[in-house]
Assembly symmetry: C2
Homo-oligomer: 228 residues x 2
Protein backbone atom coordinates (compact mmCIF):
# COMPACT_ATOMS: atom_id res chain seq x y z
CA UNK A 1 0.00 0.00 0.00
CA UNK A 2 1.33 3.40 -0.87
CA UNK A 3 0.03 6.34 1.09
CA UNK A 4 -0.36 9.49 -0.96
CA UNK A 5 -0.96 12.64 1.03
CA UNK A 6 -2.15 15.91 -0.44
CA UNK A 7 -1.57 19.36 0.98
CA UNK A 8 -0.71 22.95 0.09
CA UNK A 9 2.97 22.85 0.95
CA UNK A 10 5.47 20.04 1.43
CA UNK A 11 8.29 21.15 3.72
CA UNK A 12 11.33 18.87 3.67
CA UNK A 13 13.18 19.12 6.96
CA UNK A 14 11.98 19.99 10.48
CA UNK A 15 14.96 22.02 11.63
CA UNK A 16 14.50 25.66 12.62
CA UNK A 17 14.08 26.69 8.97
CA UNK A 18 11.38 24.11 8.30
CA UNK A 19 9.56 24.78 11.56
CA UNK A 20 9.47 28.53 11.08
CA UNK A 21 8.39 27.97 7.46
CA UNK A 22 5.34 26.17 8.84
CA UNK A 23 4.69 29.21 11.03
CA UNK A 24 4.93 31.74 8.22
CA UNK A 25 2.89 29.53 5.90
CA UNK A 26 0.28 29.10 8.61
CA UNK A 27 -0.01 32.87 8.94
CA UNK A 28 -1.03 33.04 5.28
CA UNK A 29 -3.42 30.14 5.88
CA UNK A 30 -1.53 27.44 3.99
CA UNK A 31 -1.43 23.85 5.29
CA UNK A 32 1.83 21.91 5.46
CA UNK A 33 3.13 18.40 5.56
CA UNK A 34 6.66 18.13 6.92
CA UNK A 35 8.99 15.25 6.03
CA UNK A 36 11.86 14.76 8.47
CA UNK A 37 14.52 12.06 8.36
CA UNK A 38 14.99 12.19 12.11
CA UNK A 39 12.36 11.06 14.57
CA UNK A 40 12.05 14.46 16.24
CA UNK A 41 11.95 18.17 15.46
CA UNK A 42 14.84 20.60 15.61
CA UNK A 43 17.28 19.40 12.99
CA UNK A 44 20.79 20.52 13.90
CA UNK A 45 19.41 22.21 17.03
CA UNK A 46 18.54 18.91 18.64
CA UNK A 47 20.86 16.57 16.74
CA UNK A 48 24.07 18.56 17.19
CA UNK A 49 23.63 20.93 20.12
CA UNK A 50 20.55 20.20 22.20
CA UNK A 51 22.36 21.38 25.33
CA UNK A 52 24.85 23.76 23.76
CA UNK A 53 24.21 27.46 24.23
CA UNK A 54 23.39 29.69 21.27
CA UNK A 55 24.15 33.37 21.82
CA UNK A 56 22.96 34.99 18.61
CA UNK A 57 19.25 34.22 18.64
CA UNK A 58 17.60 37.66 18.62
CA UNK A 59 16.01 38.43 21.97
CA UNK A 60 17.79 35.65 23.83
CA UNK A 61 20.96 36.41 25.71
CA UNK A 62 21.49 32.65 25.55
CA UNK A 63 19.35 29.65 24.66
CA UNK A 64 20.17 25.97 24.17
CA UNK A 65 19.21 24.08 21.03
CA UNK A 66 16.56 21.87 22.60
CA UNK A 67 14.54 24.63 24.26
CA UNK A 68 14.69 26.67 21.07
CA UNK A 69 13.33 23.73 19.09
CA UNK A 70 10.62 23.28 21.72
CA UNK A 71 9.68 26.96 21.47
CA UNK A 72 9.48 26.81 17.67
CA UNK A 73 7.24 23.73 17.91
CA UNK A 74 5.06 25.54 20.45
CA UNK A 75 4.84 28.54 18.12
CA UNK A 76 3.41 26.44 15.27
CA UNK A 77 1.02 24.49 17.47
CA UNK A 78 -1.98 26.62 16.41
CA UNK A 79 -1.61 25.30 12.88
CA UNK A 80 -2.78 21.94 11.58
CA UNK A 81 0.47 20.35 10.44
CA UNK A 82 1.15 16.76 9.53
CA UNK A 83 4.65 15.59 10.40
CA UNK A 84 6.22 12.52 8.84
CA UNK A 85 8.91 11.69 11.38
CA UNK A 86 11.76 9.34 10.58
CA UNK A 87 10.98 9.52 6.88
CA UNK A 88 13.53 10.56 4.32
CA UNK A 89 12.48 12.51 1.25
CA UNK A 90 14.21 10.77 -1.63
CA UNK A 91 12.64 12.09 -4.80
CA UNK A 92 10.75 15.04 -6.13
CA UNK A 93 8.86 15.02 -9.40
CA UNK A 94 6.33 17.20 -11.13
CA UNK A 95 2.73 16.27 -10.35
CA UNK A 96 0.12 16.58 -13.07
CA UNK A 97 -2.88 18.81 -12.48
CA UNK A 98 -5.55 16.78 -10.71
CA UNK A 99 -8.34 17.08 -8.20
CA UNK A 100 -7.17 19.19 -5.28
CA UNK A 101 -4.09 20.19 -7.25
CA UNK A 102 -5.63 22.01 -10.21
CA UNK A 103 -2.43 23.72 -11.25
CA UNK A 104 -0.20 20.73 -10.75
CA UNK A 105 2.68 20.84 -8.31
CA UNK A 106 5.09 18.37 -6.80
CA UNK A 107 5.21 14.80 -5.65
CA UNK A 108 7.82 14.23 -2.97
CA UNK A 109 8.58 10.56 -2.49
CA UNK A 110 9.63 9.11 0.85
CA UNK A 111 11.98 6.22 1.49
CA UNK A 112 10.04 3.06 2.31
CA UNK A 113 7.13 4.28 0.24
CA UNK A 114 4.53 6.97 0.39
CA UNK A 115 4.52 10.44 -1.08
CA UNK A 116 3.27 13.94 -0.47
CA UNK A 117 1.54 15.82 -3.27
CA UNK A 118 1.69 19.58 -2.86
CA UNK A 119 1.36 22.83 -4.73
CA UNK A 120 4.72 24.04 -3.47
CA UNK A 121 7.81 22.24 -2.15
CA UNK A 122 10.22 23.81 0.34
CA UNK A 123 13.68 22.34 0.81
CA UNK A 124 14.70 23.09 4.39
CA UNK A 125 17.21 20.31 4.57
CA UNK A 126 20.10 21.89 6.36
CA UNK A 127 22.71 21.68 3.65
CA UNK A 128 23.91 18.13 3.73
CA UNK A 129 23.51 17.48 7.42
CA UNK A 130 20.96 15.07 8.86
CA UNK A 131 20.87 12.51 6.13
CA UNK A 132 20.59 14.94 3.28
CA UNK A 133 24.01 14.51 1.77
CA UNK A 134 25.49 16.16 -1.24
CA UNK A 135 23.49 13.98 -3.56
CA UNK A 136 20.31 14.04 -1.55
CA UNK A 137 20.21 17.84 -1.39
CA UNK A 138 19.04 17.35 -4.94
CA UNK A 139 17.21 14.04 -4.59
CA UNK A 140 18.01 11.28 -7.12
CA UNK A 141 16.67 11.94 -10.56
CA UNK A 142 16.01 15.59 -9.94
CA UNK A 143 19.33 17.16 -10.74
CA UNK A 144 17.68 19.05 -13.53
CA UNK A 145 15.57 20.94 -11.01
CA UNK A 146 18.45 22.28 -8.98
CA UNK A 147 21.71 23.75 -10.11
CA UNK A 148 23.52 22.47 -7.08
CA UNK A 149 26.87 23.89 -6.19
CA UNK A 150 28.73 21.85 -3.56
CA UNK A 151 25.47 20.43 -2.34
CA UNK A 152 23.86 23.82 -1.83
CA UNK A 153 20.80 25.02 -3.70
CA UNK A 154 21.03 28.45 -5.34
CA UNK A 155 18.02 30.70 -4.79
CA UNK A 156 16.94 34.23 -5.49
CA UNK A 157 16.78 36.64 -2.55
CA UNK A 158 13.27 37.94 -3.08
CA UNK A 159 11.48 34.67 -2.32
CA UNK A 160 14.24 32.06 -1.94
CA UNK A 161 12.91 30.21 -4.91
CA UNK A 162 15.19 27.78 -6.72
CA UNK A 163 15.72 27.75 -10.46
CA UNK A 164 12.52 25.73 -10.58
CA UNK A 165 9.38 27.75 -10.03
CA UNK A 166 7.39 26.26 -7.16
CA UNK A 167 10.41 24.78 -5.38
CA UNK A 168 11.98 26.91 -2.66
CA UNK A 169 15.08 26.38 -0.53
CA UNK A 170 15.69 27.97 2.86
CA UNK A 171 18.12 27.53 5.73
CA UNK A 172 21.63 26.18 5.63
CA UNK A 173 20.98 24.30 2.38
CA UNK A 174 20.39 27.36 0.22
CA UNK A 175 22.92 29.76 -1.16
CA UNK A 176 22.82 33.30 -2.57
CA UNK A 177 25.15 36.30 -2.50
CA UNK A 178 25.95 37.16 1.12
CA UNK A 179 24.38 33.98 2.52
CA UNK A 180 25.27 33.22 6.13
CA UNK A 181 24.38 29.92 7.74
CA UNK A 182 22.57 31.55 10.63
CA UNK A 183 19.26 30.44 12.09
CA UNK A 184 18.06 34.03 12.03
CA UNK A 185 18.57 34.15 8.26
CA UNK A 186 16.43 31.04 7.86
CA UNK A 187 13.60 32.91 9.60
CA UNK A 188 13.82 35.76 7.09
CA UNK A 189 14.01 33.33 4.19
CA UNK A 190 10.92 31.50 5.47
CA UNK A 191 8.93 34.73 5.72
CA UNK A 192 9.66 35.85 2.17
CA UNK A 193 9.14 32.34 0.83
CA UNK A 194 5.66 32.19 2.38
CA UNK A 195 4.54 35.26 0.44
CA UNK A 196 5.59 33.71 -2.86
CA UNK A 197 4.11 30.32 -1.90
CA UNK A 198 0.79 32.05 -1.26
CA UNK A 199 0.90 33.62 -4.72
CA UNK A 200 1.46 30.18 -6.29
CA UNK A 201 -1.33 28.56 -4.28
CA UNK A 202 -3.75 31.42 -4.86
CA UNK A 203 -2.79 33.08 -8.12
CA UNK A 204 -6.07 34.98 -8.22
CA UNK A 205 -5.79 36.43 -4.72
CA UNK A 206 -3.80 39.37 -3.48
CA UNK A 207 -2.16 38.87 -0.10
CA UNK A 208 -2.94 41.67 2.33
CA UNK A 209 -0.04 43.15 4.24
CA UNK A 210 -0.90 42.50 7.88
CA UNK A 211 0.98 42.33 11.16
CA UNK A 212 0.36 39.92 14.01
CA UNK A 213 0.32 42.75 16.52
CA UNK A 214 -2.64 44.49 14.88
CA UNK A 215 -4.48 42.00 12.64
CA UNK A 216 -7.39 40.17 14.24
CA UNK A 217 -7.42 37.84 11.21
CA UNK A 218 -3.86 36.69 11.91
CA UNK A 219 -4.59 36.49 15.62
CA UNK A 220 -7.62 34.30 14.94
CA UNK A 221 -5.43 31.93 12.92
CA UNK A 222 -3.02 31.87 15.86
CA UNK A 223 -5.85 30.97 18.22
CA UNK A 224 -5.43 34.13 20.26
CA UNK A 225 -8.24 34.32 22.80
CA UNK A 226 -10.58 37.22 22.14
CA UNK A 227 -9.41 37.81 18.55
CA UNK A 228 -12.33 38.52 16.26
CA UNK B 1 31.26 73.85 21.52
CA UNK B 2 30.80 71.08 19.04
CA UNK B 3 31.43 67.53 20.21
CA UNK B 4 32.91 65.31 17.54
CA UNK B 5 32.91 61.61 18.33
CA UNK B 6 34.87 58.99 16.45
CA UNK B 7 34.04 55.30 16.15
CA UNK B 8 33.94 52.35 13.77
CA UNK B 9 30.24 52.42 12.98
CA UNK B 10 27.55 55.07 13.32
CA UNK B 11 24.12 53.44 13.65
CA UNK B 12 21.22 55.82 13.14
CA UNK B 13 18.17 54.58 15.03
CA UNK B 14 17.86 52.42 18.15
CA UNK B 15 14.85 50.34 17.14
CA UNK B 16 15.15 46.57 16.86
CA UNK B 17 17.14 46.90 13.62
CA UNK B 18 19.66 49.30 15.11
CA UNK B 19 19.99 47.38 18.36
CA UNK B 20 20.58 44.06 16.66
CA UNK B 21 23.02 45.76 14.30
CA UNK B 22 25.05 46.70 17.36
CA UNK B 23 24.97 43.05 18.40
CA UNK B 24 26.15 41.71 15.04
CA UNK B 25 28.79 44.43 14.75
CA UNK B 26 29.96 43.63 18.26
CA UNK B 27 30.40 40.00 17.31
CA UNK B 28 32.87 41.06 14.63
CA UNK B 29 34.53 43.35 17.15
CA UNK B 30 33.40 46.70 15.77
CA UNK B 31 32.45 49.58 18.08
CA UNK B 32 29.29 51.58 17.55
CA UNK B 33 27.78 54.94 18.35
CA UNK B 34 23.99 54.98 18.08
CA UNK B 35 22.03 58.17 17.39
CA UNK B 36 18.37 57.97 18.39
CA UNK B 37 15.78 60.75 18.13
CA UNK B 38 13.79 59.32 21.03
CA UNK B 39 15.05 59.28 24.59
CA UNK B 40 14.90 55.50 24.90
CA UNK B 41 15.64 52.30 22.97
CA UNK B 42 13.15 50.21 21.02
CA UNK B 43 11.95 52.49 18.22
CA UNK B 44 8.50 51.40 17.10
CA UNK B 45 8.56 48.60 19.70
CA UNK B 46 8.40 51.01 22.59
CA UNK B 47 6.91 54.07 20.84
CA UNK B 48 3.99 52.32 19.17
CA UNK B 49 3.35 49.02 20.94
CA UNK B 50 5.20 48.72 24.25
CA UNK B 51 2.33 46.65 25.67
CA UNK B 52 0.95 45.20 22.46
CA UNK B 53 1.63 41.53 21.79
CA UNK B 54 3.81 40.46 18.88
CA UNK B 55 3.19 36.90 17.69
CA UNK B 56 5.75 36.44 14.94
CA UNK B 57 9.02 36.85 16.81
CA UNK B 58 10.82 33.52 16.26
CA UNK B 59 10.90 31.48 19.43
CA UNK B 60 8.29 33.56 21.24
CA UNK B 61 4.68 32.42 21.20
CA UNK B 62 3.97 36.02 22.18
CA UNK B 63 6.03 38.95 23.42
CA UNK B 64 5.18 42.61 23.98
CA UNK B 65 7.22 45.41 22.44
CA UNK B 66 8.76 46.69 25.67
CA UNK B 67 10.13 43.36 26.92
CA UNK B 68 11.50 42.63 23.45
CA UNK B 69 13.31 45.97 23.43
CA UNK B 70 14.61 45.21 26.93
CA UNK B 71 15.88 41.81 25.80
CA UNK B 72 17.65 43.29 22.78
CA UNK B 73 19.31 45.89 25.02
CA UNK B 74 20.36 43.11 27.39
CA UNK B 75 21.80 41.15 24.48
CA UNK B 76 24.10 43.99 23.45
CA UNK B 77 25.17 44.83 26.99
CA UNK B 78 28.51 42.99 26.60
CA UNK B 79 29.56 45.52 23.97
CA UNK B 80 30.88 49.00 24.58
CA UNK B 81 28.29 51.16 22.84
CA UNK B 82 27.76 54.88 23.06
CA UNK B 83 24.13 55.95 22.74
CA UNK B 84 23.12 59.48 21.85
CA UNK B 85 19.55 59.57 23.15
CA UNK B 86 17.13 62.26 22.11
CA UNK B 87 19.42 63.38 19.30
CA UNK B 88 18.27 63.50 15.73
CA UNK B 89 20.65 62.71 12.89
CA UNK B 90 20.15 65.50 10.39
CA UNK B 91 23.02 65.28 7.95
CA UNK B 92 25.52 62.87 6.57
CA UNK B 93 28.59 63.90 4.66
CA UNK B 94 31.80 62.32 3.51
CA UNK B 95 34.64 62.59 5.99
CA UNK B 96 38.17 63.05 4.74
CA UNK B 97 40.84 60.52 5.68
CA UNK B 98 42.33 61.57 9.02
CA UNK B 99 43.80 60.16 12.18
CA UNK B 100 41.70 57.21 13.35
CA UNK B 101 39.84 57.27 10.06
CA UNK B 102 42.61 56.50 7.59
CA UNK B 103 40.29 55.53 4.77
CA UNK B 104 37.83 58.33 5.32
CA UNK B 105 34.22 57.59 6.09
CA UNK B 106 31.19 59.55 7.22
CA UNK B 107 30.30 62.47 9.40
CA UNK B 108 26.78 62.24 10.75
CA UNK B 109 25.58 65.54 12.13
CA UNK B 110 23.11 65.79 14.99
CA UNK B 111 20.47 68.44 15.56
CA UNK B 112 21.60 70.92 18.19
CA UNK B 113 25.22 70.29 17.26
CA UNK B 114 27.73 67.54 17.51
CA UNK B 115 28.64 64.83 15.05
CA UNK B 116 29.82 61.26 14.84
CA UNK B 117 32.72 60.38 12.57
CA UNK B 118 32.72 56.73 11.50
CA UNK B 119 34.08 54.35 8.93
CA UNK B 120 30.61 53.05 8.13
CA UNK B 121 27.12 54.49 8.57
CA UNK B 122 24.03 52.34 9.08
CA UNK B 123 20.58 53.83 8.55
CA UNK B 124 18.21 51.93 10.83
CA UNK B 125 15.63 54.65 10.90
CA UNK B 126 12.38 52.75 10.61
CA UNK B 127 11.14 54.15 7.35
CA UNK B 128 9.70 57.49 8.21
CA UNK B 129 8.46 56.73 11.69
CA UNK B 130 9.93 58.29 14.83
CA UNK B 131 10.90 61.64 13.51
CA UNK B 132 12.56 60.36 10.38
CA UNK B 133 10.00 61.52 7.86
CA UNK B 134 10.03 61.19 4.14
CA UNK B 135 12.62 63.86 3.78
CA UNK B 136 14.68 62.88 6.79
CA UNK B 137 15.08 59.27 5.65
CA UNK B 138 17.61 60.90 3.39
CA UNK B 139 18.79 63.73 5.61
CA UNK B 140 18.85 67.24 4.12
CA UNK B 141 21.59 67.76 1.61
CA UNK B 142 22.24 64.09 1.10
CA UNK B 143 19.77 63.20 -1.60
CA UNK B 144 22.62 62.37 -3.89
CA UNK B 145 23.66 59.56 -1.61
CA UNK B 146 20.36 57.76 -1.63
CA UNK B 147 18.03 57.06 -4.49
CA UNK B 148 15.00 57.27 -2.27
CA UNK B 149 11.70 55.92 -3.43
CA UNK B 150 8.77 57.01 -1.28
CA UNK B 151 11.10 57.69 1.61
CA UNK B 152 12.62 54.21 1.54
CA UNK B 153 16.27 53.52 0.82
CA UNK B 154 17.02 50.92 -1.86
CA UNK B 155 19.72 48.40 -0.94
CA UNK B 156 21.27 45.28 -2.34
CA UNK B 157 20.38 41.97 -0.68
CA UNK B 158 23.89 40.66 -0.12
CA UNK B 159 24.90 43.27 2.46
CA UNK B 160 22.04 45.80 2.54
CA UNK B 161 24.34 48.47 1.28
CA UNK B 162 22.83 51.56 -0.31
CA UNK B 163 23.92 52.98 -3.65
CA UNK B 164 26.69 54.66 -1.68
CA UNK B 165 29.47 52.33 -0.62
CA UNK B 166 29.93 52.52 3.13
CA UNK B 167 26.34 53.49 3.89
CA UNK B 168 23.96 50.67 4.73
CA UNK B 169 20.23 50.65 5.39
CA UNK B 170 18.38 48.00 7.38
CA UNK B 171 14.94 47.58 8.92
CA UNK B 172 11.69 49.17 7.82
CA UNK B 173 13.49 52.01 6.08
CA UNK B 174 15.19 49.90 3.44
CA UNK B 175 13.68 48.37 0.35
CA UNK B 176 14.66 45.58 -2.03
CA UNK B 177 12.77 42.96 -4.04
CA UNK B 178 10.60 40.92 -1.68
CA UNK B 179 11.16 43.26 1.31
CA UNK B 180 8.78 42.74 4.21
CA UNK B 181 8.62 45.17 7.11
CA UNK B 182 9.19 42.48 9.69
CA UNK B 183 11.47 42.71 12.69
CA UNK B 184 12.89 39.29 11.88
CA UNK B 185 14.01 40.57 8.47
CA UNK B 186 15.86 43.42 10.15
CA UNK B 187 17.83 40.84 12.13
CA UNK B 188 18.92 39.10 8.92
CA UNK B 189 19.77 42.42 7.29
CA UNK B 190 21.87 43.39 10.32
CA UNK B 191 23.84 40.14 10.20
CA UNK B 192 24.76 40.43 6.54
CA UNK B 193 25.51 44.14 6.89
CA UNK B 194 27.98 43.44 9.70
CA UNK B 195 30.07 41.18 7.46
CA UNK B 196 30.37 43.90 4.83
CA UNK B 197 31.03 46.58 7.45
CA UNK B 198 33.90 44.48 8.76
CA UNK B 199 35.39 44.27 5.27
CA UNK B 200 35.25 48.06 4.97
CA UNK B 201 36.80 48.63 8.39
CA UNK B 202 39.48 45.97 7.91
CA UNK B 203 40.11 45.68 4.18
CA UNK B 204 43.27 43.69 4.80
CA UNK B 205 41.67 41.08 7.07
CA UNK B 206 39.58 38.09 6.21
CA UNK B 207 36.64 37.47 8.53
CA UNK B 208 36.55 33.94 9.88
CA UNK B 209 33.24 32.11 9.71
CA UNK B 210 32.42 31.34 13.36
CA UNK B 211 29.35 30.49 15.36
CA UNK B 212 28.50 31.66 18.85
CA UNK B 213 27.72 28.12 19.94
CA UNK B 214 31.22 26.84 19.21
CA UNK B 215 33.62 29.81 19.00
CA UNK B 216 35.42 30.71 22.21
CA UNK B 217 36.53 33.95 20.54
CA UNK B 218 32.92 35.06 20.03
CA UNK B 219 31.99 33.87 23.50
CA UNK B 220 34.84 35.89 24.99
CA UNK B 221 33.52 38.99 23.23
CA UNK B 222 30.12 38.20 24.69
CA UNK B 223 31.60 37.97 28.18
CA UNK B 224 30.62 34.33 28.58
CA UNK B 225 32.09 33.01 31.79
CA UNK B 226 34.72 30.35 31.19
CA UNK B 227 35.22 31.19 27.51
CA UNK B 228 38.89 31.14 26.57
Amino acid sequence: MTEIHQTDICVIGAGPAGLFAVFQLGLVDLRCHVIEALDRPGGQLTALYPDKPIYDMPGFRVIDGQPLADRLMDQISPFETRFHWGRQAISIARAEPQEGLPLGGWQVGMKDGGAVLSKVAVMATGGGILGYGRTQAAPPGTDTFFQTDSGLIPTDTGAFQTATSGIFAIGDGCVYPGKLKLILSAFHEAALMAQAAFAICHPQKRLKSQYTTSSSELQRRLGVRGAD
